[in-house]
Symmetry: C2
Subunit: 160 residues, 2 copies
Amino acid sequence: MTTTNASETQIIADPDVPLVRIVREFDATPEQVFRAHSDPELIVQWLGPRDLTMTVDHYDCRTGGSYRYVHKRDEEEYCFNGTFHEVRPSELIVQTFSFEGFPDSVALERLMLEDIGNGRTRLTATSLVDSFEGRDAFLASGMETGVREGYERLDELLAR
Amino acid sequence: MTTTNASETQIIADPDVPLVRIVREFDATPEQVFRAHSDPELIVQWLGPRDLTMTVDHYDCRTGGSYRYVHKRDEEEYCFNGTFHEVRPSELIVQTFSFEGFPDSVALERLMLEDIGNGRTRLTATSLVDSFEGRDAFLASGMETGVREGYERLDELLAR
């Protein structure tokens, strides 16, 4: 018998298309999880691994808006930007994403929030790119650590 | 021996990823072809088949901008919208695209313009979606006619 920890982050490489699917449950409502993803004052408190400091250049999380943020560790600086294709509060965010170090590798991302009862939410996030090589390089880059650690920080933020 | 008409529109379904690639050459400079794609007063004159009338709701073709337009035929109305992830004048437009009838089917599109000498330009446009079924339904929808006819109209506009 397999037991699954509901707050474990599942990171799945799709077998058919160059897409990564992340599934995670949170002990908070869709409204709370959405707010933590859309309010720049909250997102800087959890997005990414603990040893990076995040600052927001702009974060206009609405349909047709755009964003840019910076992750810093000592002298290292990583900048990311994109646009918000569609934002449905507490339900869905469809956005583009690129790391400015590789501006021609653009991902199309979809965040879905689902009310699973008892004040809990299931988050499903997909990231689609145009090649399996690009997708697999992204998975091999150590993104798993950043994603898992970020969601642990989000658990802590939601529990406050 | 195969002869290829350089102004023939090639529409290719990628065998590995759910992407459509369109290649077309134009008897105009990259600057002219870019302007016809980014200026709303020009784009309404050629985008889509001849029997549809296009009106622009907004068309803010710059990095971080967004757009929405409507195609009309008698009583039928088709609305499309998206965001511009990145715009590099005369070179590249990366944008999202959705038909409002199927808002959850979002495509990530890339338009590349290449100077091939003698005042001519090669356009390569790709459209990436998250499933082969979605890509193949798009190809089966009659989009080929609209694309080919649109580029013939663009030829005419560029020749004026």
